[in-house]
Amino acid sequence: MEEVSKKFGGVNALRNASFRLEVGEVHALMGANGAGKSTLIKLLCGVHQCDSGTITLYGEVAEPANPFESQRLGIGYVPQEIAVQPYMSVAENIFLGNQPTKRNHLIDFQSMNSGAEKLLTELGIAIDSNTLGNQLSIAEKQLITIAKAIALNSKILILDEATSALTSKETKRLFQIIRTLSDKGIGIIFVTHRLEEIFEICDTATIFRDGETVATRPIAELDIRELIYLMMGQNVQRQGAIQRLENPSRLMRVSNLSVENILFDITFDLHKGEILGLAGLVGSGRTELVRSIFGDLKIDSGVIEIEGQQVEIKQVSDAIKLGIGLVPEDRKSQGLILKFSIKKNIGLVILSKLRLKGFINASKEREVAEEYTSRLAIKTKNVEQSTDTLSGGNQQRVVLAKWLAMNPKILLVDEPTRGVDIAAKAEIHRILIELARSGVGIVVVSSEMDELIQVCNRILVIRNGRINKSFFNDEANALNLMEAAAVDMDNSTSGNIK
């Protein structure tokens, strides 16, 4: 492969971005959420087509109109969510749709199996080619998907957040395989949030910000701080401006909380009126931490105290009774019943309170829904509108309304502004801050350091299931947060873990 370059104009997602991949190069695509990485990948995979600009492959124009064409052009894509055939062997999975046949048109299993084995040994993947798909771990599925792409003679391999679900051992193995591939002359596009990884595996990094290419540099010329700086732009040094709480009164204490293989010995306090941020990489355990407090994930050990009382949260309804709410990370599949109206969604948690002699009081339900619709400025004609017709920002407000309606003491919020526009984002931040002022303790999980700095009093950085470092707002900036998410720190934390 000689060169891949592409330019776009006019589109907001990507503005005149260009990118060049050499033969046998491992090239990192970096950038904050929404910087344009995934749009670029979708163009390469034929999911979207570019409005302007060109993609060239070996010097020839190549613009895949659909995923098949992209495959045929030699672009292999290993997505974040991997699917394999559960009841087919590894060998069959690798060759599905592309099986070798004998002269009588029957599938040649012998050559398929030996082909698979040869491929797996070549790549250094130690998986028996007879294993069934459903017995593979996520890491193994990933390797099989890679092998499948190679079997199709891919010249470019795109790995999208390949390591976010892997253990460090599995990651090491993946890296070995990536090296083998690049030795064979296959160009690899590596997308990850984990900064430290790219120093280990990549040759070059291209950094995107707001849909534009900021820089393409050899890794050897970069260090982690510079990388963060390039990703975040001017904002990186922006210090938080939120005061420390004056006389904090403790609302919840979580001590020594552990969940098998995911969270280890987590201890922290949450105060009344405080917004506590949980920073960390995808897969670091942030989401699992709030889930386990909410009773959706079984805790192996640890104690939760609320207002000084030790509480036992075995299931979600226990948490709700204690006044804990959770705005989950994926509003479409976990937060909302999309086919329900705004009214019914808002009423979901408080149905018991809406009852009058055992029956749901329809007018009260409507009243509550209307109250919160106007309080949170949800743009809609009326509360009977179905939520699948709302914009992302409005949907997220409905999820918030659903929990505000129960008057929570503690609100756990996971990625509150993912996929919403800037205006809605500011509005959601305002709502959270206002809520905290009224005395609610809020835990915000977010991948966006900027967001945490804008709303949180205190920020805990989770890394590999442990609290790696903790900051007061005035100590935090994107640079040191990112650093704490990417690199192990010593335990001398400045934020208080009393």
Binding site: M88, L96, G97, S137, I138
Partner: protein
């Protein structure tokens, strides 16, 4: 722990075989002379072989992630056609019946892939229509065959081997080869196993969804013809419980409602287990209803064990 799970799932994969042999050995020991006689065994083989095509058809639809409720009606109607068109000659009557099967298969396939109706509902509709056709053409009475030669198909023997058994085995061989060794066959598994992955692997989804319904209805016709030949008659009550029985046999044989799993060999073993249970319990002097109870209980147990293994597997993977 992992090895235990692997062992369990391997064992379960072989369950149809294990079940088949345990039932066989059980009755052989219990009823030495009566069960292990050539007469009994050929009788079971003949009985079972008549149902084999229909069960294999159901298994193929299930593998591709669908379901066909109409098989019983199609079987009955094919029997009616093959008997009532005998005046045109034996071969034409058989061809008519098979053509009918193909037609219903086309309709089912159309309803599922083009009209995008859920397979369960679509075939439920055709089931009702075809059953109506059966009632209309028979005028709710039994009809008798006029060509005695026709009986050979269902009742004939080659040496001591029942004719239907040979037909069933030939079909089994062909379908097994098709499912396991052709691209089209593997595509059915891929479609049922993970449609998204199948699509991304470049498998033509529409066509792959369509074919199993044609195969299944055609096979239901074959069963209908064999059945009609065995009794050289047809009646409107034929195949009333066949839809459910064929699903049960296919599931016992390792298929799953979720698709992607199962085999025609498993399905044949499944129906054989049920056949042996019937005959064996008959010989033991157990009344029909005990037989039904035992068979249905076995079915529930298989379904439940399967569900437990699947959900265990999932929770393992999540960790």
């Amino acid at each position: 722990m992992n090895s235990v799970k692997r062992y369990l799932s391997v064992f379960f994969k072989q369950t149809p075989g294990v079940l088949f042999f345990s039932v066989f050995i059980f009755f052989s020991i219990l009823l030495k002379d009566t069960f292990l006689s050539i007469y009994t065994l050929t009788n079971i083989a003949r009985q079972v072989s008549i149902d084999v095509p229909i069960v294999m058809g159901q298994a193929i639809v299930l593998i591709a992630g669908g379901i066909d409720i109409s098989v019983g009606s199609v079987m009955a109607m094919s029997a009616v056609i093959v008997i009532s068109t005998q005046q045109y000659g034996m071969i034409p009557s058989i061809v008519f019946a098979l053509l009918f099967g193909v037609c219903i298969g086309l309709i089912n396939g159309f309803l599922v892939t083009k009209a995008k109706i859920v397979p369960f509902i679509a075939t439920l509709g055709t089931m009702s229509i075809v059953r109506g056709l059966v009632l209309v053409t028979t005028d709710q009475r039994s009809i008798m065959g006029t060509i005695p030669r026709f009986e050979i198909l269902g009742n004939g023997n080659f040496w001591i081997i029942p004719g239907p058994f040979i037909i069933a085995m030939v079909l089994l061989f062909i379908l097994h080869q098709f499912l396991k060794k052709t691209k089209k066959g593997r595509n059915l598994y891929a479609l049922g196993g993970d449609p998204e992955n199948a699509f991304l692997s470049g498998i033509p989804i529409g066509r792959t969804k369509f074919t199993p319904y044609i195969i299944c209805s055609l096979l239901a016709s074959v069963s209908g013809i064999l059945l009609a030949s065995r009794i050289n008659s047809a009646n409107p009550q034929l195949g009333m419980d066949t839809a459910l029985a064929s699903i049960a046999a296919a599931i016992i044989g390792g298929a799953s409602l979720l698709g992607g799993r199962g085999s025609v060999i498993g399905a044949v073993l499944g129906i054989s287990v049920l056949g042996m249970l019937s005959t064996g319990m008959n010989l033991l002097g157990l009344v029909t209803y005990y037989q039904i109870a035992v068979k249905s209980a076995l079915f529930v147990v298989v379904v439940v064990i399967d569900a437990i293994i699947v959900s265990k597997g999932i929770s393992k993977r999540r960790k």
